[in-house]
Amino acid sequence: MGLEYFVDITWSTAAQVVMLGFIGGILSGFIGSGGAFFMTPGMMNLGVLGPVAVASNITHKFGKAMVGSKRHSELGNVDKKLSIFMLITAAIGIRIAVMLMKYMFEGNEGHNATKSAGADLYISLVFVVVLTIVSISMLRDINKSRKKIDKGPSRKIVEFLNKYKLRPLIYFPVADISVSLWVVLIVGLACGYLAGTIGVGGFIGVPAMIYVFGASASVAAGSELYLAMYMGAFGAINYAFEGLVDIRLTLLLFIGSLFGIYVGVYGTKVVKEVSIRLVTAIIILLCVISRFIAIPVYLQQLGFLDMDPANNDYFNFASKAMLYLSGISGGLLILYYVFKAYLHRRKIQASFSAKYPLTVKEKLAEENP
């Protein structure tokens, strides 16, 4: 690796990276995982090479998850046993992802953009396929739950696996669930691979813990964060060894994300669960569209698509616009919910103190005039 793989960071670039971190932080705090799905392509749109964007983001995730899991641990939301079991194969998944990435990156010749095009295309394709499945499944689930009384996530997979009880079954005390070792290992592998490829392990880890293992949402979020800390560390070690980590980007992301995360977490306290899932699904879908728009550029750079290179700028612009639209609109929507809830709270509190309560003091005075 050489210095030519790292972008020049101007004040404008730095501000945009901080903003990416802030919106990613809000989304991460609100959704309970992710944020990377916005930050990784966001950095790529700023000209950061795909592998460097993933490496810097996963390193950022390591630090962020360490701080977050400590807090979750204090609240009793972390099932360390579950996280450690998943970690065994997650580490293998990350290693596979890093090796594939390096192969894609070094397999091409030419200047930076062309050299990175193979890896960028690969990252984008995985991103589009995986997150399309995740978001559409979430939307379907929300739609179904609207029609029935129980609005919780689907339990079909958990019930299906419970029927077969693929041994050995491992009991996880904090989550209070028994899951087949094989299922845990497979989910861990998928999490590790995706964390290493697109920096988004949580989008698989959290839903898998809820939909496949049957854990509660809070334990899933806490345990995933604990797992993310180790996966982030492992990813950071791998990418740092390959010389792909841009520590400047990691630090700039920290400024925004560690602030935004507080705002997002506050949002979860005031918004209904079904609304949280709806906002999440929509944001992911918009991000997928953004990445989809960028794919022709990489195809053209690799020579798979006969397109005028001058058009690349339009595609890049459209991709960037769509990404910002999804992130900013998602962030604004969450801020709107937070603000609305805050105002409503003030209003109701004022009305309660006016209408009710017949206070204890008044009551006592009434009883003992």
């Binding site: 919780g152 209070d176 060894f241 206070t359």
Partner: protein
């Protein structure tokens, strides 16, 4: 108003024991199955709830509301029957719905496995192996149910006053022994316990009324009653439904006052005597405001005359045997102070909480530390437990020690942080220490960024070096510097948000 609750192994002899005991005492007898049928007829999907719990299905918001309804239904039925004279309830840890009621006699009826297997073989025409498997499965299901429903382990002996083994004692002799036990002072109804039954009934009726009305059915609310004063807290997401609740509760008699508080979470404040003017209380109100939390006042009735160097866990037994304390049962009159002006500052403190919109509930815990631990363990939606001035009757040194032991015991049993009121300001408010910390974090953050961006080329060159030694060194630098930077920046933002009260 005596209440006796019997829990038993599956295919033990709990039912026969309960029926015989009720008949001998001329009390009403209720079996859990009877209540489940009544609740189903009332509209609570008991079968669906049980299936969801036993099959470990995810409990949705709607199902969790139904669980609260069912608990309220059980509470209301037991309390109603208890008011008629006395009741023997036979079911799965029924006493857990009667939290705070100190005179409940809690019995566990056990039987040897062989006898239970014989019963199953006889009743269900199974071979012994099948019968054993069947019993194991039913026991596992029951334990899962109680774990889920009440968050307690079914085998925990501390949840019972006495355990009776049918393999050694006949039903007649067991009943005789239990009747003697019911005459003990600890299990006698008192004016205070009668009031508590009224409160439990009132809060159960309120909960059922809210769930009955289609407009407020979906609201997740926590209802508490204290001497007829009802406190209701609800999550911000249920603001619209909560507005209608006072209207819905109009039909319920005996509500002396109603306080509705919107809160995302709850803080338990344990004291012996409350003072709304105290600095600690003001800090607590400030924290509750920041966190959008309600504050529940818990008065711990704990009278000990001398300093005794006995471990906290042993204290209750010791006190009872010494005759120093009444085992949580007050004299057979209404608590003396209730008739006097001194109400331990509760009305004034609660009134202040109402004024600032942070009123949660009021609770008085008799029966020593274990009762307090049970209440803290069973309470849901708490984010913090604050232990204020307790054990006031003890000397200053032992007061400190006992308070420290209590905090430690509660921390072990509770999933939320438990702290002393003395540490409130330092832990959760922005004081001089936090100011200094914030400045240090800010300076460190600036220093990190200054170094990284001033020497960026050198750093990037080092981090992307191709020599293996440098690569390993780069990994070590990243692994050390990144968590450090995250800790510093996170600490900075955390304190800034504390400062602007936006936590």
């Amino acid at each position: 108003m005596q209440i006796i609750c019997i829990s038993c192994h599956s295919y033990g002899y709990g039912k026969e024991l309960a029926e015989k005991l009720a008949s001998e005492l001329s009390y009403d007898h209720i079996a859990r199955e009877e209540l489940a049928d009544k609740a189903t007829a009332y509209g609570i999907p008991v079968g669906k709830l049980e299936t969801a719990i036993l099959k470990q299905q995810l409990i949705t918001e709607e199902l969790s509301i139904e669980i609260e309804r069912f608990k309220a239904f059980i509470t209301a039925e037991i309390c109603k029957r208890a008011k008629k004279g006395g009741v023997v309830y036979h079911g799965r840890m029924g006493h857990m719905v009667l939290q705070g009621l100190s005179n409940v006699l809690r019995i566990r009826a056990v039987a040897n496995e062989g006898e239970r297997i014989n019963r199953v073989v006889k009743r269900m025409n199974l071979d012994r192996k099948q019968a054993k498997n069947y019993i194991d499965q039913v026991d596992e299901d029951r334990c899962r149910y109680t774990k889920f429903f009440y968050n307690v382990n079914c085998g925990d002996p501390t949840l019972f006053d006495i355990s009776i083994n049918s393999s050694h004692l006949s039903i007649e002799n067991s009943v005789g022994a239990l009747i003697n036990l019911t005459h003990l002072k600890e299990f006698q109804p008192t004016p205070e316990s009668n009031l508590k039954i009224e409160d439990l009934l009132l809060q159960a009726q309120c909960r059922l009324a809210i769930a009955e009305d289609s407009r407020t059915r979906a609201a997740k609310v926590d209802v508490k009653a204290f001497h007829g004063n009802v406190s209701l807290t609800y999550l911000p997401a249920f603001v619209k439904q909560a507005e209608l609740i006072p209207q819905v509760l109009k039909k319920i008699e005996n509500i002396k006052s109603l306080v509705c508080t919107m809160a995302a979470t709850n803080i338990l404040y344990i004291q012996e005597r409350f003072n709304p003017e105290a600095d600690t209380f003001n800090h607590l109100v400030e924290i509750a405001g920041k966190w959008n939390a309600s504050v529940e006042l818990i008065r711990l009735v704990h009278q000990i005359k001398e300093d005794k160097t006995i471990p906290l866990e042993e204290m209750d037994l010791k006190k009872i045997s010494d005759g120093e304390i009444n085992g949580g049962i007050l004299d057979d009159t209404l608590e003396p102070e209730e008739d006097e002006k001194d109400k331990y500052g509760i009305p004034e403190t609660f009134n202040r909480l109402i004024q600032v919109g942070r009123a949660g509930a009021v609770n008085t815990v008799y029966g020593g530390i274990q009762s307090l631990v049970n209440i803290v363990k069973s309470a849901k939606g708490n984010c913090l437990v604050v232990v204020g001035d307790v054990f006031l009757a003890s000397g200053s040194a032992s007061q400190k020690r006992m308070k420290r032991d209590l905090i430690s015991l509660l921390s072990d049993q509770s999933r939320v942080p438990v702290i002393s009121s003395d540490d409130l300001k330092e832990q959760y408010l922005f004081g001089p220490k936090q100011r200094i910390k914030t400045i240090i974090y800010a300076l460190l953050s600036v220093l990190i960024f200054y170094i990284v961006f001033t020497y960026q080329k050198m750093i990037l060159k080092f981090l992307s070096a191709s020599d293996t030694e440098f690569k390993i060194l780069a990994v070590i630098v990243v692994l050390i510097s990144v968590p450090f930077a995250a800790y510093v920046i996170s600490g900075f933002w955390h304190n800034i948000l504390k400062f602007v009260k936006l936590e």
